[in-house]
Symmetry: C2
Subunit: 541 residues, 2 copies
């Protein structure tokens, strides 16, 4: 027998709507039409115009036959066109595929083909690489050039039409509809896998909407927050902030190049309240020459993720007046899915234990239902003893739909009903997780596991060290030993022996590097140190 | 052909979870176990204990056979038991039915029967009425007495067991599950209809979750906000704030009786940051004798709804240092569904136009997809000219599932794909709506529509007036004429002629009351003036 609550209480157009972040922009434009939505160089775009231009883009795409399930690829810097694509593309039912602008032509071509790209919007800055990629790719998309008049570029125009001309043909009152189902795809982001072909991570409207709320609440973004784009929007859709900022009718401040003076200037001149970025952005800010720094006299919230921030950098940011919120997540989890939820009583701790609290990844994001550290064999949670290593696993509405056209990888990732992150962590007794290593970054020496992060944290505390990466070096006797690659601060000097001695003051001997190499560290476009390259060097040396 | 985004990208336990506000409490208890969740008199309940006690309640209910689709009714003041019921009942899959504690025995009995109540938790304070109601009702629920030791009551114990003894039998680790479907019912609230039997409004888990986010963002509730319970929780589930406060691991401050001195004391002693209530609560605060008032030296956000606040009261609150946010909604829309979204530039306006902006109901709440003022005949939106009257209609995820066991009323309410509010309003050119009247409150005199609210606003500005209600009085010549019922401030005096003359200074003559009656105004438990009673008086006199 059906219960009384299941009789004639069905969904109808009045009481049920598919969730989509497009409604956030629609609302901001309706309520705050004249408010500045986007700042780019000298240009200001109001919410009314942001919404109208996004609808023009959608309309122009629809005129070219783009609709549900089609892929629109973009190779764009953090510009207004990129922000418009985050709404204009999904308004048509199509899927936004953002390309990492640092990739080489072969990888770009692979992605365009794999995603079955129909339309490709590309910035002149990247024309040389893109031209090559288009030659290699089998797909023949409609190519649209974005020519940034605020920051003129000199690359050749590759496409049939320029972006402004393309959208000029679109209707600013384009009647978009919510998706048929909030589970429908909204975007596609390829992971920069270190081996094999990249995997295409698919997001849905439901998750993007829930992230809209969660980012605002976790990031403490108040009404009309001012958000600076130091994080690339091609990276997990900029952790979904393109969809979060309109929730509070905030202002996006674009930034074509992430450089210290440009960041300081933008923060001071536009009264920026929030920015996100990898720890490398913090290092850029802290290590900038004095003539590029500016005095910031208002509170700025810096949300950081990627690698766990070195303790020394976290301490430096606090001194410089930034309020750092530490989050953790993967492309597969819409960006941040874990947050170092800060407790007031920790403010009273001494610097060192306080920074140690800050360095932990933390607890589940509001929009995520579950995070757990488990033994991937037994799928049992590990003891909450801050010692036992396990794999971080996720469950919830901000976990991807899966990998595009890759059923095996999807099935592997979701095995046992949890998303497997590949990151190793411990669980603290208070329920906070702390990453110890990527599975592949762990160093196994004489049967003992060594956390490369633990060794790196010690080296970061040395005054001469700007950046460091510790990887495994094959060893006939021990299996592997730790090898440290160190980038020194400008003008600083140090020796291998000195560094090893420094480590031995704090760490067990077996954890200390056997080899130290002084180099400029290779980094990805998002600031992650490319350990796989260092691993090759260590192996060969 | 299915698109590439529809192949092997399905929902699974890792990437899809049913939305439920229970996860907010679960998260607050996991992350902030020792933080105070509830203050009640001298009692303090931590989040760890709040969660454990809610699970005990769920477990004890489950042991008594309560599960999906069952109704658990409560007749409770704003006490810890009521807050626990908001989580413990849905944890079992059952539906929380909150009774208005001011109702008479016949109406209570009707609701208990109509809702097919299985378990009934009732506060000793209301024992006399409840005993009568249980005699009249056909259902024979398990009756549980709540005996509030912080505020001892003397009414007889009616049930088989006392609340603390009942939950003591429950398991604090009860393994609750999310609902099978986020569309499943979570609560039932009867509207206090002025004619006919009350209608049972059914909410779902999805809507309650989205309101959790929207209340926090619209109400600007920061981390660990302190929320004072002046709004009854039986009223649209306290606008969903029982589910919103744990989002920020905030503190609930209970309040058994809404009295000026108790409110001032609670605000000062517990550093309350937020409270909600009808305008009558504001009047209570402003008109309190000086010895009951306290100096408040921190910002307090007062969220008000129900009737549009009289302009004079809004001005008074601003002077007293309260930041008033004006929302509007109905039981059918989970409480607030429209918010007077404030614009910074309005702060620069003179007092009178500023208050006029504040008196408008506003724009759609974040979690609502659409609000519109429409002609109910043609279903066309009215002109946005601030003049043309239409009916306020809603579309979105915070519109009820429908009326329980009342398909005709549900179909009427959802006719044309919009929820019909029954409230009349105009649309301003900037997209803000303003209520002109309840449909039934409009006065039609000589073929002209008179807004009772417009007349009331004028009378509220008179120094002697504490509260006022204007209703239609049948008239042989004009059809209807306005009749004003006025409650004077303590010690104030005024005459009928004086009041009519006061109105004529501002209003067209036909809008001015023909009759003025000085009385103590009858009010509902939620502070709404009961115009239907006054209408009877006007008709009879």
């Amino acid at each position: 027998m059906t219960s009384i609550y299941e009789q004639h209480l069905d969904k109808n157009p009045a009481n049920y709507q598919q969730l989509t972040p497009i409604t956030f922009l629609e609302r901001a434009a309706a309520v705050f039409p004249d408010r500045t939505a986007i700042i780019h160089g000298k240009r200001r775009i109001s919410y009314k115009d942001y919404y109208a231009r996004s609808r023009q883009l959608a309309s122009a795409l629809a005129k070219h036959g783009i609709g549900k399930g089609d892929t629109v690829s973009v190779m764009l810097a953090n510009t207004p066109a990129m922000l418009e694509a985050h709404f204009g593309v999904p308004m048509t039912g199509a899927v936004l595929h953002s390309l990492n602008t640092r990739l080489d032509a072969n990888v770009l071509a692979f992605q365009l083909d794999h995603a079955e790209c129909k339309v490709f919007i590309t910035d002149r800055e990247y024309a040389d690489t893109v031209r090559q990629a288009l030659k290699i790719a089998k797909v023949k998309p409609l190519v649209i050039d974005f020519d940034d008049l605020e920051f003129p570029q000199t690359g050749p125009l590759l496409g049939e039409i320029e972006y402004e001309a393309f959208i000029a043909d679109g209707d600013p009152n384009f009647a978009w509809s919510p998706p048929d189902d909030e589970w429908d795809a909204i975007s596609l982001n390829y992971t920069s896998g270190t081996t094999g072909n990249p995997k295409g991570v698919v997001y849905h409207h439901r998750g993007a909407t829930l992230m809209g709320y969660a980012n605002v609440i976790s990031g403490e973004m108040g009404k009309h927050a001012v958000y600076l784009w130091t994080l690339p929007m091609f990276h997990a859709n900029g952790w979904c902030f393109p969809w979060s900022v309109p929730v509070q009718a905030g202002t996006h401040v674009c930034l074509r190049w992430v450089r210290a003076n440009a960041i300081y200037d933008a923060i001071v001149e536009n009264e920026v309240t929030h920015l996100c970025g990898a720890p490398i952005v913090m290092a850029t800010l802290l290590n900038a020459p004095d003539n590029e720094k500016r005095v910031i006299d208002h509170q700025v919230n810096f949300i950081t993720a990627a690698a766990p921030p070195p303790e020394a950098v976290l301490a430096g940011m606090a001194d410089a007046g930034f309020n750092v919120t530490h989050v953790y997540g993967l492309t597969e989890t819409y960006g941040p899915a874990v947050v170092n939820e800060w407790k007031g009583e920790w403010d009273a701790l001494d610097a060192s234990p306080r920074v140690a609290k800050k360095a932990r990844q933390g607890v589940r994001y509001l929009a995520l239902e579950g995070v757990s550290v488990r033994d991937p064999e037994t799928m049992e949670p590990v003891a909450d003893d801050a010692e036992t290593l396990g794999e971080i696993m996720f469950q919830g509405n901000i976990v991807m739909k899966g990998y595009l056209k890759n059923p095996e990888a999807s099935d592997d990732a979701f095995e046992g009903g949890w998303f497997h992150s590949g990151d190793l962590a411990v669980m603290h007794p208070d329920g906070y997780i702390q990453i110890r290593d990527r599975s592949k970054d762990i160093i196994i020496s004489g049967g003992e596991n060594i956390s490369s992060i633990e060794v790196e944290d010690v080296l970061y505390k040395h005054n001469a060290v700007q950046a460091v990466a510790v990887v495994a070096k094959p060893d006939d006797k021990w299996g592997e030993t730790p090898c440290a690659f160190i980038e020194l601060k400008p003008g600083a000097t140090a020796t291998e022996d000195e560094m090893i001695a420094w480590c031995r003051e704090t760490l067990a001997h077996f954890k200390c590097p056997r080899h130290v190499v002084f180099v400029e560290l290779p980094k990805t476009s998002t600031g992650k140190i490319q350990k796989f390259k260092l691993r090759d060097v260590a192996r060969a040396s």
